[in-house]
């Protein structure tokens, strides 16, 4: 056979994998959260920052020297990774706090307008769009103890939309209508949909032709990717009183036959991928786990909201390996590059930590956070909660949440390509740091 030597073939395979591993949420279909290339252990400068019309909750993805992301201003953006110049933007009719997936020259992403879009990656031209049964946020009566307690209130912390996974000629994503959808990635035709009990805003992970995802109904599901049939379901915590300790907002990661996922019941769960049986859980003392965990070298990396803790636990046992106190809530998911882990913090800071010790290597604070309008932050960059959440009545907590976010919170999960760290901020900018 006059083929290429096996070493060259392997090199091509791994190079292709490395590139495709930056083109969807959490890097790949299993959501490993690991990225190749050099790890910037020091911060030198802002390479560029790209302004949009509203907050950037979406995480950036990379393909062929282009960064793609969604904006809460309703646009999907393609930006030159080297210069930060806009290549195209495509307007939807709602905010896009979802992370696009790039495959086959197509950008796939959902919008709060209730439509799912397939756009030409080069031009932004519409290839097709699919109407779900409608998008909405999780809601409950008297949520988080807010008043009136008998009135239904939408949860402002339900901030992400489901990010799609593309494989097997299909695109998979969750929706506020409670369905997980499988569409033909070329035509947008519906292959199947799987109904859950509430909003699905987590991103499904795919391994061995099984989709894994959790919903706001507090169930975690394993669904056959070909047929859409349920394989198993796992029930997490409930909170009928104030609906605070309930639901899966975190997206799972699959590694070595185990599914790891955070939950708003304040646990990080490790579930057997084949059976759904709980292997272990790590309790976080009523603090939500919104981050999507990353798995590397037999360890699980994640962070918490209210307790603002950065954790590394043993993937087999769930025992704590590293625990570091951050200054504010973390919804952003950790990105691992070599011996550095990057994570966004809601006080408008991007942190780079050593993977082994968890110690802070450097951080970067966005300008909005430095301005500290309305004293959202204390002088120590912690959330000034008594100044924000002084009332549980009317729109007060909603307004407080909005002020909190506008400080430049980094919900976006960092992407690292060729030593450059890309992430969005709720100050309306996409940043590239080197």
């Amino acid at each position: 056979m006059n083929g290429l030597p096996i070493g060259v073939l392997l090199a091509i395979f791994f190079a292709t994998t490395a590139i495709s591993a930056q083109s969807m949420f959490r890097g790949d279909a299993m959501h490993s959260g690991q990225y190749g290339g050099p790890a910037p252990r020091q911060f030198h400068r802002v390479k560029w920052k790209f302004p949009t019309g509203d907050r950037v909750i979406s995480s950036p993805v990379f393909k062929d020297n282009v960064i793609y992301f969604g904006g809460d201003d309703g646009n999907v953006y393609a930006v030159d990774a080297a210069s930060g110049r806009q290549i195209w933007k495509r307007t939807t009719n709602g905010p896009v706090p979802a992370t696009p997936a790039i495959a086959n020259g197509t950008v796939y992403v959902g919008s709060y307008d209730g439509k799912f879009y397939a756009l030409d990656a080069k031009t932004g031209a519409l290839k097709w769009k699919f109407a779900t049964e409608g998008e909405r946020r999780f809601e409950a009566k008297g949520i988080h103890g807010w008043q009136p307690k008998d009135q239904t209130i939408a949860d402002p912390f339900d901030i992400f939309l489901s990010s799609p996974v593309v494989a097997n000629g299909a695109v998979y994503f969750g929706s506020g209508d409670g369905n997980l959808y499988a569409l033909d990635s070329t035509t947008g035709d519906l292959r199947w949909k799987f109904k859950t009990g509430d909003v699905v805003h987590a991103s499904p992970a795919l391994a061995n032709d099984i989709l894994f995802f959790g919903g706001w109904d507090s169930y975690f599901y394993a669904v056959d990717a070909t047929t859409g049939k349920e394989k198993w379901r796992f029930h997490a915590g409930e909170d009928p009183l104030i609906h605070n300790q309930v639901g899966f907002q975190s997206s799972p990661v699959v590694a070595n036959g185990v599914v790891y996922t955070g939950c708003r019941d304040s646990n990080l769960y490790a579930l057997d991928a084949a059976t759904g049986k709980e292997k272990w859980k790590f309790f976080n003392d009523l603090s939500w786990v919104i981050t999507s965990p990353a798995v590397a070298e037999g360890k699980v990396f994640f962070a918490t909201s209210d307790s603002s803790l950065y954790h590394v636990v043993d993937a087999n046992s769930g025992k704590s390996v590293v625990r570091q106190q951050a200054k504010a809530y973390m919804f952003s998911s950790p990105a691992i590059v070599g011996d550095v882990v990057f994570i966004g913090v809601l006080n408008g800071t991007l942190e780079a930590r050593d993977t082994k010790s968890g110690e802070l290597l450097w951080d970067f604070q966005v300008d909005a956070s430095k301005r500290n309008n309305g004293w959202v932050l204390t002088a120590e960059r912690k959330f000034n909660d008594p100044f924000l959440y002084y009332s549980s009545w009317r729109e007060a907590p909603i307004v407080a949440n909005d002020k909190q976010i506008r400080i430049g919170g980094i919900f976006s999960s960092p992407l690292v390509v060729n030593g450059v760290v890309y992430f969005g901020s709720a100050d309306g900018f996409l940043y590239a740091l080197e």
Partner: protein
């Protein structure tokens, strides 16, 4: 000519001293209204200061921040300097200086942030006083225990009432969940058969009525309320 100059000097001295507040004259007492300029926002502040039996007392209102008539602590008046604190979750500290125009200007400090502030006297003081503990009925004295569910797990409550004569009752308020919390109690009252125990600083309260040997009511944590029945500890 020299006499005229000396006379003018005397007039000037008299006029200047008359303009200064006399030692002991209380120019600080009053209602002071103004604002603190924090980034991108102006916070309205109303401060009432008065002297009672030779000691300074005061309260503060911060409209829009759910602060109404909260007592001032650590009041220090050494004219022209005035400073005080507002204890509780907000944790405000104000350091002011009276100027020649009858204004108090200085700093509004909270959570390590500092903003310039300026207050103008608008009238006599209207100091608000915190409600005082009342005694509780004899049959309530002693320890009461009960359980409730919140955020997915059971918490054990112990409330122990002790009458302290003219100072009203005091309470030991303990909640045991995953850890033991001794709650600082700000207020204990009994009005008719309704008993209230307030731990405002951390947002807990219990309200109940004694019926058939049980203290039945509800516990509140922030805006969250859940039923709680206490029985006398054995």
């Amino acid at each position: 000519m020299q006499l005229d100059r000396a006379f003018l000097r005397l007039i000037a001295i008299v006029a200047f001293t008359a303009a200064l507040p006399c030692r002991g004259e209380d120019v600080i007492s009053g209602r002071w209204e103004g604002s603190a300029q924090i980034p991108d926002e102006e916070i309205t502040v109303v401060v009432d200061l008065a002297q009672e039996n030779g000691a300074w007392v005061g309260s503060i209102i911060v409209p829009g921040f759910d602060v109404k008539g909260v007592p001032l602590s650590d009041i220090a008046v050494k004219q022209p300097d005035v400073s005080f604190s507002v204890k509780g979750p907000l944790g405000i500290r104000m350091k002011l200086r009276l100027d020649g125009n009858g204004k108090m200007t200085g700093n509004f400090e909270q959570a390590g942030n500092v903003a310039p502030t300026s207050l103008q006297k608008t009238g006599p003081p209207q100091v608000e006083y915190p409600p005082r503990n009342t005694p509780v009925a004899k049959e309530l004295e002693g320890e009461w225990k009960g359980d409730y569910q919140m955020l997915g797990y059971t918490r054990h409550v112990s409330i122990k009432f002790t009458n302290r004569g003219p100072d009203g009752a005091t309470v030991e308020f303990v909640i045991v969940g995953r850890r033991t919390n001794n709650l600082p109690v700000d207020l204990v009252t009994q009005e008719g058969d309704l008993v209230t125990v307030d731990s405002r600083g951390i947002g807990f309260s219990f309200e109940g009525r004694l019926k058939e040997g049980k203290l039945s009511g509800a516990i509140r944590q922030g805006a969250v309320e859940t039923p709680l029945q206490l029985e006398r500890a054995k």
